[in-house]
């Protein structure tokens, strides 16, 4: 096996095995071997993310493994970003992401953000307990392709609808696609309030985000 192929294979395995020290070492090695960023992202990071996802579905991996692998992959992408632009790799799209007002949960949001970053999206994370005013302000400033909102509590779900209504009043609804998610949220609810999409977990959120970009 060529050196670079072995480095990529070892790097992918290090991501999957949640070995952050080895990931850092092999990332450095990959760059020293002049492996193109596109190849590192596609064959080590994204394929690694797929394998981690399969282990999670098979109940071999749990939330700590998703959190760790998400963190490592997001850091790797950030490291490679300047080189990606030089390599002609463009962003998959711009996303503003937040948890709605009255809700302080962020673990699910952060995992989804990691996976969306791995998939090539540029994310503005506006945090938790985000008011509709703040969401609108971010949309005006950042002009994202997609607004992602998370609600982990049944009592804060109406905030999802409120943001959409405020966007309509402000004449901004057509400017952005909306995806929602969170434990009590359903596909049915998303349709009911006029969201464009619903992601039941991080992996579905990535696929749905890609589909939304095709409609832009």
């Amino acid at each position: 096996m060529e050196n670079s192929e072995k480095t990529i294979t070892d790097l992918r395995e290090a991501f999957v095995n949640i070995d952050s020290n080895l990931v850092n070492e092999l990332l450095k090695k990959a760059l020293e071997e002049n492996i193109p960023p596109r190849e590192i992202i596609e064959k080590a990071i994204r394929q690694g993310a797929d394998e981690v996802g399969k282990k999670y579905e098979a109940c071999e991996y749990f939330l700590p493994e998703l959190v760790m692998s998400g963190e490592m992959m997001k850091e790797a992408i950030e490291l490679l970003k300047p080189m990606m632009k030089a390599d002609g790799i463009s962003s998959s799209g711009k996303i503003v992401f937040g948890t709605v007002k009255g809700d302080l949960h962020d673990i699910g949001k952060n995992i989804v953000i990691s996976m969306l970053t791995v998939a090539g999206f540029d994310i503005t994370d506006v945090g938790v307990d985000v008011s509709s005013e703040k969401f609108l302000s971010e949309i005006r400033e950042k002009t994202p392709d997609i607004l992602c909102m998370s609600s982990l509590l049944t009592h804060t779900m109406p905030e999802l609808n409120l943001v959409i209504e405020e966007l309509k009043k402000a004449g901004l609804r057509d400017k952005v696609k909306i995806m929602i998610g969170g434990r009590p949220v359903t596909e049915e609810y998303a349709t009911q309030i006029g969201a464009d999409s619903f992601g039941k977990d991080a992996y579905e959120a990535v696929e749905k985000a890609k589909q939304l970009m095709k409609k832009r």
Partner: protein, 345 residues
């Protein structure tokens, strides 16, 4: 036989006259009658009245805990100085205070008589004991499990990745969280003269691997339960725990309020002879949004699987925030289908 007596018989793995029904208590006591949750928490008279109202309306079931101080999930975390946020219709929440891992080296076990909301909990507990009707059990407030408290202080995401990156600090934080809960229960016992019940809520074990639970969760949960070995120990976890069922049971609780995500038949098969099972109607799609007929049908199936042999309490496998008719439906199902011996096809 009162609903609570029925519950206690099931908790001893026996068959009462029929399957008991029990619901978790929480800020629903307040929201149901239009009280602002903050008002409910700090006005002890209003709190007692709200809790009594709920019990009067639903006399066919018991509530776990019974009449209790109910400061929500933030009481212990507040003792470390976390900022607490109050909402009109939701339980209070708090934000993590341990931002850098080294800060764990500087935190200390708080004093429940002095720190955060804990003295208020003790004050409320005394008020309830002194003022509740004599036929009402007054229980201590539900405590956080040690992992739950640790994640409130550190943040769920950072805590989970700390297990990989800083295991020694995770153990240190878990030791502090464990001692905090032990001291809190002892302080409540000083007020009551010693309660016969302890109710622990901790979802975090359901989120981690068996290996991580063995290392970071099991010893600490076990220590708390062993410290209070003479109390009836009830444990709530509304996350899927199929991968750690036996390990959880080994920590020493007697009643398990398990998640709707658990397979009820397999849960009964694997640990049903050791612990009383309490659950596990799905809280949102069924309990919150389902029709009375749908709820009764699902309860019937659960009674059929988990009821025979006793040691079963019909309940929701998660938070109980549903309309009155949902609670009526669950109680009705136990009346219709839950008489022992249970013979349902």
């Amino acid at each position: 036989m009162t609903p609570r007596e029925r519950f206690m018989i099931a908790a001893r793995l026996q068959e009462p006259d029929k399957v008991p029904v029990a619901f978790l208590r929480g800020s629903y006591d307040a929201t149901r009658i239009g009280l602002h949750v903050k008002d409910y928490i700090f006005d002890y008279k209003k709190k007692l009245n709200a809790q009594l109202k709920l019990m009067e309306r639903f006399s066919g079931c018991t509530f776990v805990p019974g009449i209790n101080p109910d400061f929500g999930i933030v009481a212990e975390a507040s003792a470390f100085g976390t900022e607490v946020f109050y909402y009109e219709k939701e339980p209070p929440m708090c934000t993590p205070i341990i931002k850098q891992i080294e800060e764990i080296d500087r935190i200390k076990v708080p004093d429940p008589h002095r720190d955060g909301l804990l003295p208020k909990v003790l004050e409320a507990y005394k008020y309830l004991i002194d003022n509740a009707p004599s036929n009402c059990e007054v229980d201590p407030q539900a405590i956080r499990g040690p992992m739950d408290l640790a994640t409130e202080l550190r943040g769920v995401g950072p805590f989970l990745s700390d297990m990989y990156k800083h295991p020694e600090h995770v153990h240190k934080l878990m030791e502090i969280a464990t001692q905090t809960e032990i001291d809190f229960v002892k302080a409540m016992d000083e007020i009551s003269g010693g309660s016969n019940i302890i109710f622990m809520c901790d979802d975090i074990p359901g989120l981690i691997s068996p290996k991580f639970f063995e290392e970071f969760g099991f010893p600490y949960m076990k220590k708390i339960f062993q410290t209070f070995s003479n109390k009836l120990k009830i444990y709530h976890n509304c996350k899927n725990s199929m991968h750690i069922l036996e390990r959880l049971a080994n920590t020493g609780f007697q009643v398990f309020n398990f998640s709707f995500e658990n397979n009820v038949a397999e849960t009964k098969k694997r640990i049903g002879k050791r612990v009383c099972l309490m659950g596990n109607v799905e809280p949102i799609g069924v309990f919150l949004k389902g029709s009375q007929r749908e709820i009764e049908d699902i309860c019937r199936e659960q009674i059929k699987v988990a009821g025979p042999g006793g040691g079963y309490v019909l309940s929701v496998g998660g938070g109980c925030y549903g309309p009155d008719q949902s609670m009526d439906a669950v109680i009705s199902a136990a009346d219709k289908y839950g008489k022992y011996p249970i013979i349902l096809d």
